[in-house]
Symmetry: D2
């Protein structure tokens, strides 16, 4: 007999779709789980839009005031899928109402907000997680297993990029649906919170904490029409951001992200170099992990492209899907996170990354933005 | 207001899962469609197994006798997901009962059976399709668009492989759940009907009809324990099959398939070489299409890896999914086929490949197997 | 104290250049060898052309009559770099004159000629070799070492392609300098002797003898202007050739070659699939060998790209060149063959492939062409 | 009638071999050049070693005192292939003696030395060049042509890495033959002068000058046995160095180099992202250039792998070598630089990079090392 987990979704954008898809599919592929998400209610200010969303995806009801959603007795968990500047208020209110929270990344506009949010969920004792979904790409989870096994030995280098090219066009406005990511008021930052936050989350998970950073940001297009005013306004977000850092384990880090790398749509790449082995991964072929093992037979050493599609139990999550050789895609990372969240409820354990875990990423982002501001190294 | 399409599913194996997933997801991603699949009933001889399948996936009822399923008034379409030797009888019965039919590939054990099936569906006038799902990989559909545009000019070569390695182990038995593909009685043939049939279907679609063939087959492991008898028995299927052919358009074809290519799990690759351009694709990275265009600037000619993930309308089906750079996977091909089937009902057009289309593939398979038998060229 | 090996070169075309470069460079990179090639004389009918060639490359003298060259006392070894229809007569004459012979591939127009040539060199007891240079790509030599080690276990499949696109243009004439490869009178065959012969030589070396074949050839452009007559004449060579075969070890072979594969310049690829491991190589990135090892840790199995540039003794020939990571190219294969030939003189051993080894390739080519002629399987 | 260019080579190590090979081969492949290098004399302190080198490579004479070499009347050009701390003195002496100079990179230990060297060659008016050989990889030269054509539009990003792994072993000593690169006294710096200098030279050439930098260096193995003392001594070089920078054209730069990236032997990669097109290259497959062109047909946009082997005049330098599809290697870059140097003598033009050009790289290296020292941004 399964138990329902009644979801209250706030938002209906790109992330609203990916999370909802996760809720809907998890039961088909993880039938052993005790809990089953139920699409209880979806919420947004625009009644028309949220009704259309609810109809398409099958939410049982709608709300246009998120406070009402949070107040409803028939909601167990609140999913926050709105611009970053709204996370804090909603999360704290949901915690105070005793709701579980699944919050879209980044956790908050900054770590001060994040601290308040952590305090709230911890005080309330409610299960909480942040949607840093790339941890649940099977190839990335496999990388984590390999790192944890000690196979790499001492770590020397970690590097990650997140390269896109969708804002090169100067005619693209800032603000509004889908484009609030270009508006600093809504997003807090540009690529730092949007893209680098993913890279940092994975890095902290795989390689431990970051001690200090020095960063550089750039805004290539200085002014864009704002959709709310119809006027050209200064663009305040970072179009590109790079930083160098030291990890606590003594390794060096190099991170870069931009929306001006012509030819790359969502090229999140990561590489970690250890004494005995190295790993590489990229999001454009997310079902592959590249591995170099120095302990291989010397004449046959090389980079190996592991097609992470084995359903025989060797590859994380893959026993839930199809047969060897058949790849899954981007959306499955959200199904996996839902599954892990449901499992954590069964087990009474936290579902990583929790708000507290995600706060660490926020602190690195803050240090990065501060360093870019005054051009000096910053401790995290 | 959407209309229900009540599905009666026969079978619950790997294909039962992929088809069912297609039915369940299509509404979320193709909300504009008039029809919506409803999981009305699932059927198999084993009551326990089919009940478990129905419970997991949400079928409203079960049957243990496929004739009863077909007879039910509340079933609009029958999906045949059982071993190949059962296709004919079920399909003909379903057609006679006036049901639409979605039949797993290959259409039949041979083209004689296939002819009967075509006659039955055509006499009954019921919509029908065969699950040659790789036509609906967006990269393959894009290849079709490019070929149809005439960009390639005169075609010289077509080659395709389907390489696997899962039966190298001599201890693997034949027969039984999941392993009926090694049993000639159930499967009709080995890799020819299982794997080459896919390659042939795509080839006929992209490059037109095949005139004649010469083939070679091999059974590397001569005897395997049969799960029904517990005894070692002669293996009658082809473990590997290769053939050369002439296409009607004057181009040469080369096809190979095996389950003994160590290192390849599901490496379906195809390449087509034309006078002005060439295309390549492989299933291990199914979201990419490689294109060589001789009309490019001479110094910059080269093979281009197109990441077929553009949601701006440039790439087939991709406007239904996520954002550029984010790949989909294997299972989506079935969602696409369901969507196209539903659309064909709206439009009153056939959904390719129909039984009649799939019969062409069957004829090539028959010629291949006959040629392998007597070592001579055969006309198709 | 080194000993001179005085070379008499017949021909000055593409192969004349690659061989000469091999002679000139071998001493710099293989200083331990006892013999050193000396560019004693170059020979061709056109005095102007051969003088220009001799001047550019540093041959000490020229001849315009190959019989005179062969007769000279100051020539130790004759290098035959002329169209295939001239090989037999020159080689037999050189053998009778007691000269060592380095003959460009294919050995002859057919195996009857090849038999005579073998008889001649064996009767004369002169060292002899045929320039199947791809055996000396370090990655291919490494493949040979791996196969010989038994690491692959039982072999199931061998496949090789040699794909080019340089004759698609119908305006290209046949005959004349550089284009005699399109003239059956000079070349004997088209891609079979020119390209497939390479694939066959490597295959026999790596995977043992071929028992029988069935082949298909095509001439896509039926008529071309002949440079000697200025008239359009029937093209008698094969523009494309594919064949299937059985190896004596029970494995299946599939070979294809064409000059009409748009986008491929010299894409010689080979793959061998064994029970425990598989290998792949291609000429477009000739410094890499791909290896799949089933005995790897299961979760980390994958195709490994070995950059065959290790100068630490792990990789064949590479200790002679630069440092790890720095690739060599096509021309080095000829330097290696010269080095091995010189070493064989020191050791008194044959330098593979000898005429006798190359005759085996010729026999397969003959069977391929005969099969293509009458559309039936042929024993080799 | 060709003119001799009599070379006096100082040094006999890895670079001594690559340069000498360049001198010896240039005439065979660039026969149209007026000048021909003559291996007049080789020089090193150890008589045995330099005699062996001269014997192997064919130098006509030896010297054990570089001042004597420079003083010889029969030397036209001096090639400096010794540790970096010796460049300045030799170069200035050679210039004063009126010799042309071909100096191994980096130009000097620092830009102060470099300035003196520039002053000396300019005062003497002697032709001079520095062996930043990667400019002459055909794919990199092609990249330069593309950038200069304006095809990329406004440049946003430039990134380059040079990753190696050969010093991970803590038992490797510092100092001595082949290992002076680990000894700060001889090398000046570690990876900065050795590897990043290459990346910077190419970057300045392709993307113009660098305005300011912030850098981070690390020495992972703190002590190594010094070959001169036999004692463990502090390692003073940088094992790894990364820096961020602004180019004068407004683009952002990111550079990294290390000898601790397990799995990479000589992975020099570069990428440049412009408004309309992007380019990528890496040294492990140096015969390929990757190109993304936004102006391609939208559905077919993608990264194109250009095999830079066209001998039809489309690809720089390739008309001198073999036929399309046949790759050249690392050593050819030196042949090309010799050819360009000889051509510059004919034309009376400078051969880039001159000492003055190389000084710009030195200035960036100085700023990088200074920034790493005090952790702040530095203007170049």
């Amino acid at each position: 007999m399964t138990k329902p987990l009644r979801i209250g979704m706030i938002g209906y954008g790109f992330m609203g779709r990916t999370h909802t898809n996760g809720y809907k599919r998890v039961g088909d592929f993880f039938p052993e789980l005790e809990y089953r998400p139920v699409l209880q209610a979806a919420c947004a200010r625009s009644e028309d839009k949220i009704q259309a969303f609810a109809d398409q995806w099958g939410y049982a009801s709608i709300e246009t005031d998120w406070r009402k959603l949070i107040a409803r007795d028939d909601i167990d968990a609140v999913d926050i899928c709105v611009p970053n500047n709204l996370h804090k208020e909603m999360a704290i209110a949901a915690a105070e109402a005793g709701k579980m929270i699944l919050c879209e990344k980044p956790l908050a506009l900054n770590s001060a907000e994040g601290e308040e949010m952590c305090a709230a969920v911890e005080k309330a004792g409610v299960p909480n997680t942040v949607w840093y979904n790339y941890r649940r790409v099977p190839a990335v989870t496999l990388a984590k297993h390999i790192v944890d096994s000690g196979k790499l030995g001492r770590i020397f280098h970690y590097r990650a990029n997140f390269l896109q090219d969708w804002t090169i066009n100067a005619e693209l406005p800032q603000g509004g649906a889908g484009l609030w990511r270009l508006d600093a008021a809504a997003a807090g930052s540009g690529v730092t919170g949007d893209l680098l936050a993913h890279c940092i989350d994975t890095a902290l998970w795989l390689n431990g904490s970051i001690s200090n950073v020095t960063a550089m940001t750039e805004t290539f297009i200085k002014e864009r029409v704002h959709t709310e005013t119809g006027q050209k306004q200064k663009v305040s977000i970072d179009d590109a951001c790079a930083f160098m850092c030291h990890f606590a384990n003594g390794s060096l880090g190099l991170f870069e992200s931009t929306r001006y790398a012509r030819g790359h749509k969502a090229l999140y790449t990561l590489e970690i170099n250890g004494e005995f082995a190295s790993l590489r991964w990229d999001l454009h072929d997310l079902h592959r992990l590249e591995v170099f093992d120095y302990k291989d037979e010397p004449a046959l050493r090389g980079w190996k492209s592991v097609h992470v599609t084995d359903n025989g139990g060797e590859h994380p999550y893959m026993d839930k899907w199809w047969v060897p050789g058949l790849q899954i895609g981007y959306e499955h990372t959200f199904v996996h996170q839902v599954a892990d969240f449901l499992k954590s409820l069964e087990d009474g354990t936290p579902c990583s990354p929790t708000f507290r875990d995600a706060l660490e990423t926020q602190k690195v982002c803050d240090a990065v933005l501060a360093s870019a501001q005054d051009h000096s190294w910053k401790n995290v």
